[in-house]
């Protein structure tokens, strides 16, 4: 298995106005190369939540899309910190540490990581004060 496509996108801290842009671009790329709408939608939701997390909680970061010759789709969302102190809590639906500003905009439902986990076929997360890395894989479901 080898990677036949790779692209990295930047996400800036507090850039609420552009939240969803990377997700939209990735979804378009996937549809263009013929990935099913069901898988494209799941990837798009995961990317959107990862973008929002970087904008609200992190000091920005990058999202990389990789497609392998066997059709596997991999997303790596890597931010610049400050890290998630308790990953289990962060994975609990409804748990949020979002700011008042974020909440007023309708963010901070505490559904970000749970939505990502539900939509990905493989979900791996690592976090330290230096940053959080999400490694996700997607494939067609029966």
């Amino acid at each position: 298995m080898s990677v036949i496509y790779q692209k990295t996108y930047n996400v800036e801290k507090d850039d609420y106005a552009n939240a969803g842009l990377v997700s939209s671009l990735i979804k378009q790329s996937l549809r263009t190369i013929g990935v099913s709408s069901a898988v494209s939608r799941r990837v798009a939701v995961a990317v959107y939540e990862a973008e929002i997390n970087m904008i609200i909680h992190a000091y920005g970061g990058t999202i990389t899309l990789e497609i392998s010759d066997d059709g596997a789709i991999r997303l790596i969302a890597s931010d610049l910190g400050p890290g998630i102190p308790d990953i289990q809590k962060a994975l609990t639906p409804g748990f949020s540490t979002a700011s008042k500003k974020a909440m007023e905009l309708g963010f901070g439902a505490g559904m970000g990581l749970p939505n990502i986990k539900r939509n990905a076929d493989e979900f791996h997360i690592e976090s330290s004060p230096a940053g959080t890395v999400l490694d996700l894989k997607f494939q067609e479901r029966e």
Binding site: Y16, S24, A109
Partner: protein, 108 residues
Amino acid sequence: MKVSEMIEKTGFKTVVPGEDREVNGVYCGDLLSWVMGNGQPEQAWITVQSHLNVIAVAVLREFSCIVLAENAEFPEEVIERAKNEGLTLLYSDLPVYETAVRLFKAGV
């Protein structure tokens, strides 16, 4: 039902006339991740959130249109983004519940 027929039956005011998509059902919600996690393609989305990110959510979730309830207003930048995306934006002067009821009575 198409969005155009839905507008005719409900009388909601058109802010941006987008693509005339199919409407199958309604989703109500203002917490964006909740909407992202639970909304379905072709639904009309009723919300009181009017900032730029609602356009991103609606496009990614493939909603048919956004109905902004309770007399809220979209800022100009949001209207421009919706135009670029071909997304229909509507105003309802009713509260969220009554807005949903009107859609239900219209057969959505």
